[in-house]
């Protein structure tokens, strides 16, 4: 009954989980040399010499302009409402023995949202979409020898989604009802990693994080709730498909004080085939095809050390998982280019700070013949700033 489109997409996968890695475009799986290895490659924990805590947050400011709907011959510009998102990351790394390390992390690998004016042209598709996930990941890593380490973690996942859109048709003069859908649930997942140091200067890393299906429950609220429409107010359920992802990276040190890394990240979005929400009140359901495709991200980054200061930079290319037919204002995704810069500074023997900036440019995307029949052109960018503090002991 409702033209709901779910949220998850390239745009709702967050890949920024620490300012140090982010400044290098997330090309980090082959090194994973701080506690954020819990996310990037748990095997990296095993090579870390000092125990550490690493805490930070990313400020994300996306901007989206829509020109259309072109299927109605309009090229009117509508801008998404400005929002700031602040996903967090917090990690601990502790060496139980020299070879066996324990890690723990809390982070948000899927999130973000979009919000449009309640009276805008696409309000029957989306007024607001908001997604949050929290991953809690106890992790162990083992150093097999001086070249090889492995790691494994359990992900305790809690996630929630809120969707708002206009539904239903009403007679002249009446206010169309708005539906607010809220779904949340929990599940488990796992991740594994391998790190292999070919030599002093070259290393290889790979990690895999399982997908997870969150069986969400929640409520649908209609405002106003016209009795005559017999709207299925109340309990709902539906599944949130979180895709699996894998990293493979090679790093090398071509000269003293310089490290560079290239990573390939694979994201198993094909698991996201449809969104189905079931309404308990009248046993009805709505099924919307999504048909996302598996996709990849290429990451190139590096770090140059000058004593206490480290200068970092990188570039990433994120290939959109959303087929053109399924691009809509909930997630106006397209291929993205990201340029990253940042630095780290050793404040004292135990304390470091890291800062990163990422300019993410979503390539201009003109869509026609969309599933929702809401065509047009999307221009989107995002500015991301991250700050982390590390403490070692």
């Amino acid at each position: 009954m409702i033209g709901t489109t779910l949220l998850f997409g390239g745009g709702f996968q967050l890949n920024e989980h620490g300012a140090r890695s982010m400044a290098q475009a997330g090309a980090f799986a082959a090194r994973a040399y701080d506690a954020s290895a819990v996310y990037f490659n748990p095997a990296g924990l095993a090579f870390q010499k000092q125990n550490s805590v690493y805490l930070g947050s990313t400020f994300i400011s996306p901007e989206i302009d829509f020109y259309g709907p072109s299927n109605l011959g309009s090229n009117k510009k509508t801008s998404m409402k400005n929002q700031i998102f602040t996903p967090i990351n917090a990690y601990v790394q502790y060496g139980i023995t020299e070879d066996l390390h324990f890690g723990f992390g809390v982070y948000n690998p899927f999130g973000l949202g979009t919000e449009w004016d309640p009276m805008w042209d696409g309000r029957r598709i989306s007024i607001k979409a908001d997604l949050q996930t929290f991953y809690f990941s106890p992790t162990v890593a083992y150093k097999v020898n001086d070249q090889i380490s492995i790691g494994v973690g359990v992900n305790i996942i809690t996630g929630g989604v809120e969707l708002r859109q206009e539904v239903a048709s009403v007679p002249v003069g009446a206010t169309p009802p708005i539906i607010d859908l809220e779904l949340s649930g929990n599940n488990f997942g796992f991740n594994v990693g391998l790190l292999y140091k070919f030599s002093e200067t070259v290393s290889f890393g790979a990690s895999y994080r399982s997908g997870s299906k969150i069986e969400g429950t929640g409520t649908a609220t209609f405002t106003p709730n016209y009795a005559a429409l017999q709207l299925p107010n109340g309990e709902i359920n539906g599944n949130l498909e979180l895709p699996a992802t894998a990293y493979a990276g090679v790093s090398m040190s071509p000269m003293e004080n310089l490290e560079v890394e290239v990573d390939f990240q694979y994201v198993g979005w094909a698991s996201y085939k449809e969104l189905k929400v079931n309404f308990k009140a009248d046993q009805s359901s709505t099924v919307l095809p999504k048909n996302y495709e598996n996709t990849y991200i290429i990451r190139v980054g590096g770090e140059y050390s000058m004593d206490a200061l480290k200068i970092r930079g990188g570039y990433l290319f994120d290939h959109s998982p959303v087929p053109q037919k399924y691009v809509d204002p909930v997630l106006p995704d397209a291929d993205r280019d990201g340029w990253n810069v940042g630095f780290g500074y050793q404040l004292s023997e135990n304390i470091t700070i890291d800062a990163a900036y990422l300019f993410l440019k979503v390539r201009q995307n003109t869509v026609t013949n969309t599933e929702t029949v809401f065509d047009g052109t999307y221009n989107s960018i995002a500015n991301l700033f991250a700050l982390n503090i590390g403490y070692s002991f």
């Binding site: 009954m1 033209g3 901007e63 020109y67 259309g68 709907p69 072109s70 299927n71 109605l72 011959g73 309009s74 090229n75 510009k77 042209d121 696409g122 309000r123 029957r124 598709i125 859109q165 206009e166 539904v167 239903a168 048709s169 009403v170 007679p171 002249v172 003069g173 009446a174 016209y226 005559a228 429409l229 017999q230 709207l231 299925p232 309404f279 009248d282 046993q283 009805s284 359901s285 709505t286 200061l309 200068i311 340029w339 810069v341 940042g342 630095f343 900036y357 300019f359 440019k361 201009q364 003109t366 599933e371 929702t372 029949v373 047009g376 052109t377 221009n379 989107s380 960018i381 500015n383």
Partner: protein, 485 residues
Amino acid sequence: MKNYFGVLLLITFFLVGCKDDAPSGIPGPGLGGVTVNKYISIGNSLTAGYQAGGLYEDGQIYSFPNLIAQQLKIAGAPLGKFEQPIWGNPGSPDISGKTARLEILAWPASGPVIGSSGATAGVATNSNLPRPYDNLGIPFAYISDFLDTADFVVKSVPLPKIFFLHVLRNKSYGNSVFDQARKVTPKADIVTFWLGNNDVLIFAIYGGTAVIGNTVIPTAPTPSATFAIQYGQAFDSLRSAFPNAKIIVGNIPDVRAIPHFTTVGPAVAASLEGAFAISYQKHGTTGAGDASSYLTEANAPLLPLGAGAYVAKIGQPSGQWYKDNSITLPAGIDTTQMFGLDYRNPIPDALILDSLEIAMAGAAVTSFNQTIVTVTAAKGAALVDIYSIFNGIKKNGLKIGGETFTADYLAGGLFSLDGIHPSSKGAGIVANEFIKTMNSKFGMNVPQVDISRLPGIPAPLGKYIVNSKSGLKRSYDSMQPFLKQ
């Protein structure tokens, strides 16, 4: 270290805010060099904005010609107000002077109760306009009425014909639709012309019958040859009066595919179990059914919405339909027998399109549309293939901007409560088809109507949309008998 910060800041400022410019290649609204100083619409109830069994202001505002006029203005046409023969809410009267407009009066668990609110009918609010209307759509008009210069005041006496008087009003503006169209100034440079539907539709709506006094007589669609001559004449006159105008013509949708016919029949068929069969009167007969006039589960009949109230009486000794319509009981009918199940008390011809009538209607639609294609091609008019568009929606539904439309009654959203005329949103969809044709044929760039901003029917969602078939099945039996002549 300060130097590095400087570099970082520079890079940052360079990157922040460099979003792409507005896309090129999406042209804004425009008329593409076409002069549009006046637009007029000629047609029947579909043009008038007649909805839900009546003509009323809240429906007329969303007539497809008025929607087109508003879009032409957005595209830059210097049109003034598009003047329509507004019938103030709650609209035109039924035979008792109450509003004829159908509304959902209640929606108990058993299904919707649809009928007139019983309020006193409205009055015309724009009848003092000192010139002919821009919208010359007249409900119940046949193609012949386009040229008919007979006295429309006299013609307007039987109830459905009151619309001739309502629209044409004043003989000083002309005696026919055509006369009045010619007198609109400035001279129209865009004309939409959508006539011919009633030449087959009215036959079908009344089950191939008409009630004359206390008896029922069989009817037929306008003969194909007659239609071809009349349509050709009408179009010749139109073209000679507007030699340079852009004329856009709609053809005739398949009357068999509208929810007026496809709602009750399948529900009845689904309720028939195996051996049960329903007796009906064949086209042109008034007496008992015979051995070959039975409906079975496999033979899903086309029953008009008005039959809904009577199929609920199937199996009971009932002469309700004859009573309601003041029909003298014809020879061979015995209303003490079980209605519909006994051949001596069959479903009356008026409440069913039997196989012969379905074939007659189908042949008429096909033939009329052939005439329309031939005539419009010869006379340089653009054709909107409403027939194929509606059949496409019936088959596949129509999605637009997050809304889905189907040809289902109530829940489908395309048709108004009478199951015949488009809803306001349906009118928007029709307007957009005309606009698309204008744009492609004449190189215009008129923006389409935003369907999401048009009012809809407050049909319950949930079950009725997800599984409209079962929703309708459970609701047919409480529908009020409407669309009585």
